[in-house]
């Protein structure tokens, strides 16, 4: 039983990584119906910021994380103000074309600046290896990942429930027209939410390097997983993204453990079955 729980924990930790990468997209998609396929490019930016700070400026790993968050958030605001906002009224397909185009550009720029090589990041010793808790072997870094994700979730949920800004976000996700009617500056709320969401993706990108590595193709490689989490969780729902990410992470790892020959199929099967059962996602309303 012990190893099984350890494996499930690994899956949960992997899911938490997916959660950080995707929660921002879920909220912005739910609020503005804006299809941002360049979301993972912001995650990639966070990753490269961390790599640069560690390898070039010898920053400690933990100190780079807030910078990764801020850099991705700031960059996203720039793009939101300059490009994205012009397309809020446009068709989904135009939004797809724009953001795919931006993702192409981002990949090219990353390849130009950093090369195509895998970026090595060595996390500090206290985050490596494993600890044994009550007979369970748990990866230290995964414990750290889960802690960060849970903290982020807690902060997000509390902020959404108990702050004025949170109320505005909820109103805007719920019914944009009505929110405007109530005098909420939906454009501003969206810009801030967008920055937060991209910032979280940046944080996720920085945290992901240790588990999945980082090279310029990151912007596309994880797009599929992020889209799976967003659709299964339901648009605009933090709880939904959390549940979906945990479910996908755990079922992926558990499936590979119990039925490795199904390994590559399982995540897609789970997604299809869940979406056929609940087309709007686990926690979606529309």
């Amino acid at each position: 039983m012990g190893p099984v729980i350890g494996v499930l924990f690994d899956g949960f930790a992997y899911g938490m990584l997916l959660f950080l990468l995707s929660v921002g997209l879920s909220v912005t998609l739910g609020m503005m119906n804006f299809v941002n396929l360049a979301h993972c490019a912001f995650a990639m930016l966070g990753g490269y910021v961390t790599v640069t700070l560690i390898n070039t400026y010898q920053w400690p790993f933990l100190a780079t994380l807030p910078v990764a968050f801020l850099a991705a958030g700031a960059a996203s605001v720039l793009f939101e103000r300059v490009l994205y906002r012009r397309l809020y009224g446009a068709s989904d397909l135009d939004q797809v074309l724009l953001t795919i185009g931006l993702a192409f550009v981002a990949v090219a720029v990353a390849a130009y600046v950093y090369g195509t090589v895998q970026q090595p990041v060595r996390v500090p010793a206290y985050l490596r290896g494993s600890v044994t808790v009550a007979g369970l072997t748990l990866g230290t870094y995964r414990l750290f990942l889960v802690t960060v994700a849970l903290a982020v979730t807690l902060v997000l949920v509390l902020a959404l429930e108990y702050t004025r800004f949170g109320a505005q976000v909820r109103a805007a996700v719920d019914n944009q027209r009505m929110a405007r009617g109530l005098g909420i500056n939906v454009g501003l709320v969206f810009a801030i939410t967008f920055a937060l969401g991209s910032g979280l993706a940046g944080l996720g990108g920085a945290l992901a390097i240790e588990i999945v590595g980082l090279d310029p193709s990151f912007a596309f490689t994880y797009l599929i997983y992020v889209l799976i989490v967003v659709s299964v969780g339901g648009l605009g729902s933090i709880g939904g993204s959390f549940a979906a990410a945990a479910l996908i992470g755990i079922s992926d790892v558990a499936g590979k453990y119990y039925a490795p020959q199904l390994g590559a199929f399982l995540i897609y099967l789970v997604m299809i079955v869940l979406l056929m059962w609940r087309p709007v996602g686990l926690f979606g309303r529309r």
Binding site: G6, G115, A125, G129, G139, Y141, V253
Partner: protein, 394 residues
């Protein structure tokens, strides 16, 4: 619509103006590699090998100027590779095809080489059958069985293990490696207690590592493509308490490539791998090669670079032998049986299979001056591709 047509005509006209007919004294080499996408780094490191060779040896051979035309195939895309090969021959009038990091692409372009009777040098793709596709094709990289069948036999005899678990990527090259290693291992008296194949796009290895651990084998054999996965699986092994301090870990060299060792930490120490080249190989030629690469590209060469470097060497030497005649028949005849000293050690082109004959090195990860490196401690010399050797006897 009319505007579109005019625009297209303009684009097409611009394209037409591009390559002039083959100048008398020029030999064109069309290089097809993945310069973008998931395998971009492979393509670029291989290309660095080509560039370095030309930087060191100039672009004149046998009185002819060498011109390289590079094409991006973008990943595993045999239809694109074949089209590019056709275009290179039809449009750019190249004399030689080269590059080819990925097996399906090399196989597809092989048809073109055979039909157009053009010399083709495969500088990386490692599936055994590739060279059977065209009689004008030679290979300067490796074949998967060449390394792994040898390694399987070594592990069972000198490696000190009799019960192994194998873990490979679930696609062609992984299957080849699994088969070759298990064959070598069993023929030498070993026993495979279990095996698993993980999906190619697999970011998280913990479940597979746990499966291996459940069977409590004496050791594990891992075959994994490069990229992010070597570091990821090393970390997963360490997290589940399966690192090489507790159990014997074997693998093909990708498992302990330099980039991975930079982020795995000391848990990788003791891992034993098989490879045909490592930047730490101790020879004067290799030291110069590594130095040259660092001066040119600011990074160490790897197996892809040495494949490209040796590939260019083969082309240059063959052209010297034919006195600048770039005819496919002439070049492949010149290439057959050619022997030279490569940064990886002595190599030769097997006159029968046109595949490379080389030394296979057994290495162990050790800490040297604070850095993790692959230290060669055993080797098997003059290894041919065992699959084609068997084809012949059957």
């Amino acid at each position: 619509m009319r505007k579109t047509l005019i625009g297209l005509a303009a684009l097409a006209a611009a394209a037409l103006a591009a390559p002039a007919a083959n100048a008398q004294g020029t030999i064109k080499i069309g290089v097809i590699l993945p310069y973008s996408g998931q395998f971009a780094d492979t393509g670029i490191q291989l290309d660095n090998g080509i560039k370095l060779y030309m930087k060191e040896h100039g672009d004149m051979v046998a009185g002819k100027k060498i011109e390289i035309i590079r094409k991006d195939v973008g990943g595993i895309a045999p239809d694109v590779a074949k089209r590019l090969a056709q275009e290179l021959i039809v449009r750019d009038k190249v004399d030689i095809l080269a590059g080819f990091a990925l097996t399906p692409n090399a196989l597809a372009a092989g048809d073109v080489s055979a039909e157009a009777k053009k010399f083709m040098v495969v500088m990386n793709a490692a599936t055994s059958i590739i060279t059977t596709k065209s009689p004008y094709m030679a290979r300067t990289s490796l074949t998967t069985p060449q390394l792994n069948e040898t390694f399987g036999a070594w592990a069972a005899t000198k490696g000190g293990v009799k019960k192994l678990y194998t873990m490979v990527s679930d696609f062609g090259p992984g299957h080849d490696a699994e088969q070759a290693f298990q064959r070598g291992f069993k023929d030498a008296g070993g026993e495979i207690v279990g095996s698993v194949r993980f999906p190619v796009a697999n970011p998280d290895f913990s479940a597979f590592v746990q499966r291996a651990k459940d069977l409590n084998p004496e050791g594990i054999y891992v075959w994994i493509p490069g990229g992010a996965q070597p570091a990821a699986i090393q970390k997963a092994l360490a997290e589940r308490g399966m690192d090489s301090s507790k159990i014997k870990i074997f693998g093909q060299g990708e498992l302990t490539i330099e980039d991975a060792l930079k982020s795995t930490g000391d848990t990788a120490v003791g891992t034993i791998t098989v490879f045909h080249y490592d930047p730490n190989h101790d020879s004067a030629l290799n030291r110069a090669f590594v130095k040259g690469m660092n001066e040119m590209a600011n990074r160490n060469p790897d197996i892809f670079s040495v494949g490209g470097y040796d590939g260019m060497h083969l082309i240059y030497e063959a052209l010297k032998k034919t006195n600048g005649n770039a005819d496919g028949e002439a070049l492949i005849t010149a290439a057959k049986g050619m022997k030279w000293e490569s940064p990886r050690g002595p190599v030769a082109i097997d006159p029968e299979t046109r595949d490379i004959i080389q030394t296979v090195y057994i290495r162990r990860v050790e800490k040297v001056d604070g850095n993790l490196v692959n230290v060669e401690f055993d080797k098997v010399e003059n290894v041919k591709d065992p699959v084609k050797a068997r084809m012949k006897t059957n």
